[in-house]
Amino acid sequence: MLSKIIRPTSRRLIPRYFSASPEVEDAAQPTSAHAQLPYVTPLREMNFVLNEVHDAPTHYKNLGFEDCTPDFLDAINSECARFAQEKLAPLYSSGDAEGCKYLPNTDVRTPKGYKEAYEEFSEGGWNGLTVPEEYGGQGMPLSLGVMKSEIIGTANWAWSMYPGLSMGAMNTLILHASDEQKETYLTKLASGEWSGTMCLTEPHCGTDLGQVSTRATDNGDGSYNVTGTKVYISGGEHDLAENIVHIVLARLPGAPEGTKGISLFLVPKYVPNEEGELTEEILGAEKNVTCVGIEDKMGIKSSATSVMGFENSKGWLIGEANDGLEQMFTFMNTARLGTAMQGVCHMERAYQGALPWAMDRASMRSLSGKKYPEDVADKIIVHPDVRKNLLTIKALCEGGRSMIYDAALKADGMINEDPAVRDKCEEELGLHTPTMKAFLTELGCDAAQLGMQVYGGAGFIKDYGMEQIYRDAKISTLYEGTTGVQALDLLGRKIVLDKGKELRKQVQLQISDAWSIGTSQTARNHGLTGHALEIGKLSAQWATTAMRIVAGAAKNRDIIGTASTDYLMFSGYISCGYQWLKMMHAAGKALDANPDMSESDKIFYQSKLDTGNFYFNRLLPKAYTHRDMAVKNPDSIMDLPMEGWDLATTLPSDSGDAYAGYKVE
């Protein structure tokens, strides 16, 4: 039945050259009944942002990574792109349709093709890209890992969560584990032989990790017994690798209450023997950690979101006792960066899916006269609303990518040996990561919806593939800290508690950059002066708005909460605009420096200027509304009394005081 549905010609499949031969075709490939949205890695975009906007070559040279020249990075990214396009993207729809299966023996089976892709990925050495060489990795800077995650994440986000969570485990071990723990576990994680997870969330607490109640008791021999339940554990159980290394937050007996009493443990699915190996006997015996079930979710269906049962599971302390949350926070910034990336990945997927449709689908006529007079109707790309939707996705995607790569390069300092470098890096990043995470994921969901909108009714139909992008994007505003939590972190911790120190530095930097760009000849040549001026003004308002909120909060603490999400979106639009200013400047400079450049180069740079103009004219104005909302009176949010919420089910008046238990102090 499905195969008879007429597909639009605009959905071009990218043929795998060798698939022409049936013998060569991989039996694990999905059937043609699944949607196959096009995916081509935007290498040119990535190179432009890295090399021409953020001067990556100088950055890597200064860090001592002389090997990381543009050619070298391009060679790595191109090979990763090939793998992602040929092996991961074709599994995007089929993996979603099939999902993971929880088996009666507590194993989990991933969709067809996932295991093969993981094996090839591991054989290629990709798991260890940023792991130090002494543990079998390639010792590349963290920012290369961000590029890798963009490439594989855009091709197939849910698949990429398996190696993605392993990366989280690896980073934790690199910074906090003992040498023996690294020897046994990090090496096998880097090779992909074993995978890793982060076990923080419990049924009663996700955001509020101070409530963690998983217990650990000392066995006296260096090992601990860990007991408790963890939920929403991505990759908690699967059939991709032989062993799974769980990084677990748990409480030691007698530990202080709340956030100061949590320790970090390493609890493997199978405990290796003294030589660090898994024998047949170990693999045949009972698991040290069991998966109790997997969740049935809206999206990222091929990611095994597991409930993990720890029952006197053998584990080892990582670092010092009661240091658990501190250790987790070391990677808060990179984790948020990684999740912000999901926003951009889904925007890119939505754009690549929606654009061919708009170029091909014919409907109605342009308001300003027939643009395709020989055809029965005009291609819908002529319609202003369609153009606006596509441009919105494009402008946010390209701007977001620049925001992320800027931060990714800064994040290279995270694993520096010098603690002073690490601290400075954390301060700089700390201001940006909550904004990037919330702003880019919220808008990532919007972009995915706009992509569906371009398709009209077909956007709602699974066969066309666009609706999956939205379903997959939705989790990104929820996990790794909800939008609301990011906003509180930005305003409450990173600005108020910091007394605005880092904010002021960033504001000064932006105003200074806006000034240099705005007064340059390039700006005059390409009409950037007005944009530079606006970024300058908004950057100042970024600080003054915070001041107003803080002043109000002195009288009423709730104002931090009523202002925060709008303040965060305000910050996001400004940051994105700042990046667009830099991109437009780089594009203008390139056009001016080389008037003999090829036609396609001219088109590339001009497109940056045009898309940037769209951002400033049609998207940045939203910043002002968010600014105004952020400084509004909190009363309309806070004043509604408990009784006023639930009028639909209010009990009749003779049943007594129905809300006796709900009085707010």
């Binding site: 050259y17 060798f18 022409a20 031969s21 060569v24 090979e79 050495g125 390639q138 090829s598």
Partner: protein
């Protein structure tokens, strides 16, 4: 055994090419370029020989513009030991045709004395499929083209033809082999190999300096896109089909 592999930088197979405005060539401005897929198969075969300890050294050679060095680097990342880059500004999809390439490669073979030369059966831009055969002729050595399997111990090759597989034997090495689709499935370069490839050596010389007359003996008059596919027609029955095939299409 030492192996020489030819690799050509061509338009990426996924790109939809356009004819240039002057209708003399395909427009290659900023088009994505990659290693010719059949050259990838040739490199893969050579690397497998090295892994099976049947080959001791693999040299990747490419004739092309400066950017062809990237193609050689990819071959090095797949496992070749060193590269030779003959630079030329002539268009390798037009002016520099199979005969010129064969003559240049013959010079390289004379200098390097490899035991086996493996090329792709054809390049996906020119699609001549002649270079391997011409090279063997210039060198007066055996040729086994369109190879689906190569057995260096038994000295036999299974060749793909339009009517099926043919088994041929070659008397001795050196010999030229050209790789067909089913010879193998090329590997993805692993990260450690991409890193190592940076340090491997590529010898660069100008193609003109080899003392070879690069005259293809033909000129490109015009390049145009194939006519768009026309709509088909329905026939009423088998007789009607046979009639059309015989009298209109003239294929029966």
């Amino acid at each position: 055994m030492r192996v020489l592999v030819g690799v050509k930088r061509v338009v990426d197979y996924a790109v939809k090419v356009r004819v240039a405005a002057d209708k003399k060539a395909v427009d290659l401005a900023n088009v994505k370029m990659s290693m010719n897929p059949f050259c990838e198969i040739a490199v893969e075969e050579a690397v497998r020989l090295k892994e099976a300890k049947k080959a001791t050294e693999i040299i990747a050679v490419s004739i092309g513009p400066k950017a062809a060095a990237e193609t050689i680097r990819t071959a090095l990342a797949m496992g070749c030991d060193r590269g030779i880059h003959l630079t030329t500004d002539a268009r390798t999809d037009q002016e520099l045709g199979p005969n010129s390439v064969a003559k240049l490669l013959a010079k390289v073979v004379e200098e390097e004395s490899p035991d086996a030369i493996i090329l792709g059966k054809q390049s996906i831009d020119g699609d001549f499929g002649c270079t391997g055969a011409m090279l063997a002729e210039h060198l007066k050595i055996p040729q086994c083209t369109f190879a689906a399997t190569i057995d260096f111990d038994a000295k036999t090759v299974e060749r793909e033809t339009d009517t099926g597989t043919e088994v041929v034997s070659f008397p001795s090495l050196p010999a030229v082999f050209t790789a067909d689709l089913r010879l193998n499935e090329p590997r993805y370069a692993t990260l450690p190999n991409i890193m190592k490839a940076k340090k491997k050596k590529i010898d660069t010389k100008a193609a003109d300096s080899l003392g070879v007359e690069l005259n293809e003996g033909n000129t490109v008059l015009e390049v145009f896109e194939p006519p768009p596919r026309e709509a088909g027609i329905f026939v009423d029955d088998v007789d009607g089909l046979v009639d059309k095939l015989k009298n209109e299409a003239g294929v029966l």
